[in-house]
Symmetry: C2
Subunit: 138 residues, 2 copies
DNA sequence: GTAACTGCAAAATATTTGCATCCTT
DNA sequence: AAGGATGCAAATATTTTGCAGTTAC
């Protein structure tokens, strides 16, 4: 498991450092998505705010995690599936925000639908976020 | 036209003030969505940052405008259709972000699709944002 | 006249940048 | 040893809050 973490970092040409291992571990050990603030809390004063910013940014650039837009101005991050390589990230699944427990999940098995756009519009990417109650909260 | 603006405000039990008229006017005169920053720019030093925050918040509460989540942490606001009343806002259309001109539009004619969720999940709301090139930019 | 709205000041938060030091390779 | 990563300090930017003065009704 710890090896997995090192592997992911190496595969993306990143040096293996304590902060990166710890942040990546947080993502692996929990099913949902994490906002910047969550990471600082869960890590328990361990590392600098700035390191978290920089690490998240690096991970997004490398395609290790991806962002999930939300309506409340708090960007959330979630792990990408293995087949997301740097540059061409394909994020074809639906995101789910639980209005009860406030967690955000990737519904990896639910693919985004095809949308018929009006004439003249071309589609490059689609993002679907469903809000509701998750299976743990009902 | 100016009457429309006053009407909208009155219909929502808001006093008609210069700031509210001006901000509402900005939304009416342009097809896309506006972020907080856009409003400050377009208004040209006219009113206080704080007033913009408070006005936007009020409008969202009353259902005059709604928020559109984006991946880059900049919340955008757009006018709601007439049938959005306070409390039960129905926002059943797709949003479109142009990667060229950076504008955000409401595709009012494109309704959000039905998503089949995994067992145990219930849906309260759905948000669909498509990124691509709009008809003006291609 | 009263309640609601605005603008200013200031506080609280959040994010970015520079640089010296430390760690990974 | 060299390059990259971290942590601290500080600069910026963003959002919130309190309060006094102004405006709408």
């Amino acid at each position: 498991m710890t090896n997995d973490i090192k592997e992911i970092l190496k595969k993306n040409q990143l040096s293996v450092t304590a902060s990166r291992e710890k942040i990546l571990h947080l993502f692996l050990e929990q099913p949902g998505a994490l906002a910047h603030g969550d990471i600082e809390k869960k890590a328990g004063e361990k590392f600098d705010r700035v390191t978290v910013y920089r690490t998240l940014q690096t991970f997004v650039e490398k395609g290790i995690i991806h962002t999930i837009p939300t309506a409340d101005n708090s960007i959330r991050y979630a792990l990408c599936k293995d087949d997301c390589a740097s540059g061409h990230h394909h994020d074809h699944h639906v995101h789910f925000v639980c209005s009860s427990c406030k967690n955000t999940f990737c519904l990896d098995d639910v693919v985004t639908p095809n949308i018929k756009l009006p004439a003249g519009y071309s589609q490059q990417h689609i993002e679907v976020v469903v809000e509701g109650v998750c299976k743990n909260c009902r």
